[in-house]
Amino acid sequence: LEIRFPWKLELSFPWFGMDIGGTLVKLVYFEPKDITAEEEQEEVENLKSIRRYLTSNTAYGKTGVRDVHLELKNLTMCGRTGNLHFIRFPTQAMHRFIQMGSDKNFSSLHTTLCATGGGAYKFENDFRTMADLELLKLDELDCLIHGLLYVDSVSFNGHPQCYYLENPSDTQNSVKTPCSLADPFPMLLVNIGSGVSILAVYSKDDYKRVTGTSLGGGTFLGLCCLLTGCETFEEALDMASRGDSSNVDKLVKDIYGGDYERFSLQGSAVASSFGHMMSKEKRDSISKEDLARAMLVTITNNIGSIARMCAVNEKIERVVFVGNFLRINTVSTKLLAYAMDFWSKGQLKALFLEHEGYFGAVGALLELLKSSEEP
């Protein structure tokens, strides 16, 4: 067994960064577009086939997906120019992925596989025994922050990376508005994956994990599956988009007939999530869509509430929400924007990033590239 040490001057392809989470594996792949004829000739068949496989498909196996709309084009990394591809697949498929690495004889490419996320630890041994691959394990929060700052610093094919919702108090008509993260510190970074981590970030390398909650994307999907029989995040979100949570939640007005004036609570505020479900009649008449919507609202509002409290305690006004829970999830982004604005009386601002859940993987890739620079 030969271990490739990361301080080789000329970094050999392929360049991957991987973030193995509790639910999803996020993979970024740098496709060099500046390959010389000489290089082309020297390129081993293996490498070529990997490149072709990844770049010519948008779906891999039953569950792998390439987020084409996120692809970063004409990116220069480590002196090379190319495109950065963003791929995801369920962590449940991890063993099939490792098997594929073995089948394609990935280990013969002598590359370093940089991985972060809990799976880097959990699957380390499987990579070794099944595919003869050594992982370079990286801290997920380091990768998250480095990746985020990097992605924000490069051009997203001329589109803005960072945005907020203008007019957040009107969730029907709030408008996605680009903004800049040029002076990002301090920021409260809320990463919503299967669970949630909340970080106070003061500079690139100065941050702390403030808290976390186990009520995250995994909870939304897990409970939706149990309550509605749905199978995927997309399905759950689709149902949620058509549901009405006020059939499920008990609102302040359901208890007090209107606003609870003594404590200035609006009648439309949720008093008890799933509170109506205490009644058998209501349980018997509820739709799956309503349940999915209530689940989404419950989880989102709770994250918003914890994030807001952390922001106040840490005295940080900028709250950046990332993580794959926010993917195609406008309901949640609007709710978070609204909650930050409403409960802080306009003090706090919720920011979002287009590459939501891929920053850890990008951070892992950056580590790989950094390793070539530091002898």
């Binding site: 989470g21 509790g22 639910t23 449940q92 809990g118 799976g119 630890y121 959990k122 699957f123 380390e124 801290d139 929060l141 994956g193 299967s194 669970g195 994990r209 808290t211 909650t213 186990s214 009520l215 995250g216 994307g217 995994g218 909870t219 897990g222 409970l223 939706c224 599956c225 149990l226 309550l227 029989g229 199978e231 499920v248 939640d249 008990k250 208890i255 003594r262 404590f263 609570l265 505020a269 949720v270 008093a271 008890s272 999530s273 799933f274 509170g275 109506h276 479900m277 205490m278 058998k280 349980r283 349940l291 419950t298 709770n302 509430s305 914890i306 409290m309 952390c310 106040v312 305690n313």
Partner: protein
């Protein structure tokens, strides 16, 4: 009468509480003193109704009155006469029962409400609206709604201020699951987290200043609603039952499921939940009801705990109380909330729960309606005889008791005649604990004392009957007393935590409450009278013989006399045996029984040294027994202090307890002694000897609940010496009390078990003289060491 029995279990409600169909309770045991009831309040929740009313209770009190001694005295005439009088006192009644009984209960109240001019009933709680018409129809009272949360906070302030050991920390696997907190002199500020269907978080800064600082929609309703959807289980407590049997790790995604182990660099252990229900996002797996319920319980408890911590930190508060139906005595939720708070604050904040949490709303509503009576200007005390006490959380412990009290639960509070405050001389009022041993945590001691009180019951009953020779039904009443107290002892055997920490003091106080309940206000009145008479005859002789001693001999004789006097204590088992069989057991004899020096705790040398220095400005003396103790022990000692130039304040009980001298008895005794002794006479006349009430009617002493007048006198007179005498006041309580001035704690140990515990023997002497650290006294340069 058809309404005199209520058959429980006539219907079941969709609630979290079970009813035993076989239980029948006589409502007159529940709705007591209805004849004089006024100022009703009712709090109707989702499943339980809590009713409150105020009543006046007529009961007997023993009064002493001095005979006219200007007439020529005849040998054998008693010193004073004792009479029984009827007095009225104020009591608050709180009763909790299931909503299913509401109509039956209202009928009973209507039938028995005779003397009331009440027109309004204050109402709160979510169900108040639903039952409004029924209440108005049945009781002919106008329902006046009060804000639920305001009532809750008012009630919380009231119980925190007036009920000792109201708040507790829950420790699941400890010997005693409840760790009661001392009643803090200043209850504000605190955070109250009410977990009903949603969560409300209140910051309470004073009686009238509070604010809803936050909340969450994820609460008890979420657990119930989502739980019912997931498990098809309808009832809240069945869901909790399911949860207590489940394994959340089958449903939740743990850190180790993601990492394969712990996330070391962040200090996240592998067992931590990374994503609640994270494993259930799969179509091809079945999950058990138990596992899902458990996961849900963890998810919600952790979430609430986290929010509570964030608010506690934001407002810089460490006292956080939890209430609401999600908590209400459920060990499962108290445990998960406690766990969560510990996790998120790393132990900096403790989750506190309340013994009377379920009553807060109705107490608050009642107080709103009683504002013109200004109930907050009084001190109130929990009546142990009339209150059910906290039930065991473990269903296998005494299941009958639990089922019975799950149906009806009562709390009675007596309005105390005196307003009670801290002794201003407590070094640190917030850490002061009156009781020396917590019997709820000391199983051996608990066993012994429960046995001891059971053994003594016959004697108490006998003396109670003997104290009322003119009343033929006294024997029957005494039997009722026996039954009640025996039942209390049984309850306490199973649930030592029923009224807070179990202590010798609480056992004694419970007995006093039960005696009063059955109109035996002072079983020892005759005995005290006889002893006082006898002792007075010896007073002059005793003073004379002391006068013949040298200064140093006299100081020792005074201390020894005081200790010997303290042997005469009917409350102590060893002595009551002797006294009963041999009434001639005399003062001199007692001195011979005393342990020779060095005593078990012996700071006499330091005390003597101190006496060689300048006199104290003023001594506050908490006295103990009647008869020989007060007359031949305390008075000569006090006389010497007065002669030294020290003012003396004698603090005695406001109402009777055992053979302790009461304030009114002491007034008569002081008059009589003043008539014989010029030193005492001029001291009384010149106000250098003052009598005050302690505000207590216990054989023990709680220095945090003393008569406000006493506290004023202490400040005015600049008391610089506190003397506490007797086993109840100086050993069972206050043994470790730290005062900000010099103190003497003196007692003879008249209980062989206790003597054994303290490493001594029967009639061992404790003579503790303490000087606070850094305190300047003239000749004293070291502080005696407390024995272990």
């Amino acid at each position: 009468m058809s309404t005199s029995k209520m058959a429980a279990g006539c219907e079941r409600v969709d609630s979290g509480h079970s009813m035993d169909k076989s239980i029948t309770l006589p409502p007159d045991e529940i709705f007591r003193n209805l004849e004089n009831a006024k100022r009703f309040a009712i709090d109707i929740g989702g499943s339980l109704t809590k009713l409150a009313y105020y009543s006046t209770v007529q009961h007997k009190v023993a009064k002493v009155r001095s005979f006219d001694h200007t007439a020529k005295e005849t040998e054998g005439d008693p010193l004073y006469e004792i009479s029984m009088q009827e007095e009225m006192s104020a009591r608050l009644h709180f009763i909790k029962f299931e909503n299913a009984y509401i109509e039956t209960c209202l009928d009973f109240i209507k039938d028995h409400l005779v003397n009331t001019d009440t027109k309004v009933i204050k109402a709160t709680g979510g169900g108040a609206h639903k039952f409004k018409d029924l209440i108005e129809k049945k009781l002919k009272l106008r329902v006046d709604k009060e804000d639920e949360m305001t009532c809750l906070i008012k009630g919380c302030n009231f119980v925190l201020r007036n009920i000792t050991h109201e708040a507790f920390v829950y420790v699941k696997h400890a010997d005693s699951e409840f760790r009661f907190q001392n009643t803090h002199p200043d209850i504000f500020p605190y955070l109250l987290i009410n977990i009903g269907s949603g969560v409300s978080i209140f910051k309470v800064e004073s009686e009238d200043t509070f604010e809803r600082v936050g909340g969450s929609s994820i609460g008890g309703g979420t657990f119930w609603g989502l739980g019912a959807l997931l498990t098809k289980t309808k009832r809240f407590d069945e869901l909790l039952q399911l949860a207590s049997k489940g394994q959340h790790t089958n449903v939740d995604m743990l850190v180790k499921d993601i990492y394969g182990g712990s996330y070391g660099s962040l200090g996240l252990t592998g067992d931590l939940i990374a994503s609640s229900f994270g494993k259930s996002a799969t179509p091809d797996k079945e999950f058990s009801k138990e596992d899902m319920a458990k996961s849900l319980l963890h998810m919600i408890s952790n979430d609430i705990g986290q929010l509570a911590c964030l608010y506690a930190r934001l407002h810089n508060l460490t006292r956080v109380y939890f209430g609401g139906f999600f908590i209400r005595g459920h060990p499962v939720t108290m445990h998960t909330i406690t766990y969560s708070i510990n996790f998120f604050t790393k132990g900096e904040v403790q989750a506190l729960f309340l013994r009377h949490e379920g009553y807060l709303g109705t107490i608050g509503a009642f107080l709103k309606g009683a504002e013109e009576d200004n109930p907050n200007q009084y001190s109130w005390g929990e009546n142990y005889a009339g209150s059910s006490g906290l039930m065991s959380t473990s269903p296998d412990l005494n299941p009958m008791q639990r089922a019975r009290s799950g149906t009806f639960d009562m709390l009675e509070m007596d309005r105390l005649e005196r307003q009670l405050v801290n002794l201003p001389l407590l070094q640190d009022p917030s850490s002061y604990i009156p009781d020396t041993v917590d019997l709820s945590e000391d199983a051996l001691a608990r066993e012994y004392w429960l046995y001891c009180f059971e053994e003594a019951l016959d004697g108490v009953v006998k003396r109670a009957v003997a104290s009322q020779p003119d009343l033929p039904e006294a024997a029957e009443r005494a039997e009722k007393f026996r039954h009640k107290y025996q039942h209390k002892l049984q309850t306490l055997r199973h649930q030592p935590f029923a009224y807070g920490s179990l202590t010798v003091r609480s056992l004694l106080d419970t007995r006093e409450h039960c005696l009063n309940e059955f109109n035996f206000p002072d079983p020892y009145s005759k005995i005290k009278q006889g002893e006082n008479d006898m002792a007075l005859k010896y007073f002059q002789k005793a003073v004379k013989s002391l006068g013949e001693l040298s200064w140093e001999q006299r100081q020792f004789a005074l201390v020894r006399g005081l200790l010997a006097g303290n042997v005469f204590d009917w409350g102590a088992k060893a002595v009551s045996d002797v006294l009963e069989s041999d009434p001639e057991f005399g003062f001199e004899h007692a001195k011979l029984q005393l342990e020779e020096r060095p005593w078990l705790v012996d700071a006499y040398d330091q005390w003597l040294e101190r006496l060689k220095g300048p006199p104290h400005k003023c001594a506050l003396f908490f006295v103990d027994n009647s008869g020989i103790d007060i007359i031949l022990g305390v008075f000569p000692f006090v006389r010497e202090l007065i002669c030294r130039g020290t003012e003396v304040v004698l603090a005695s009980n406001s109402s009777p307890a055992l053979n302790d001298v009461t304030n009114s008895e002491l007034q008569i005794l002081t008059e009589r002694i003043a008539a014989m002794d010029l030193v005492i006479q001029s001291a009384v006349k010149e106000d250098r000897l003052t009598l005050v009430q302690s505000g207590s009617s216990s054989p023990c002493l709680d220095l945090s609940r003393l008569d406000k007048v006493l506290a004023g006198v202490v400040r005015e007179r600049h008391v610089d010496l506190v003397i506490i005498e007797g086993m109840g006041r100086a050993i069972h309580t206050n043994y470790y009390a730290i005062l900000s001035c010099e103190s003497l704690k003196m007692a003879v140990i008249k209980n062989s078990w206790l003597a054994d515990r303290l490493g001594g023997k029967l009639f061992s002497v404790v003579f503790k003289y303490e000087v606070p650290p850094g305190h300047k006294t003239t000749t004293l340069d070291h502080v005696p060491v407390t024995p272990s």
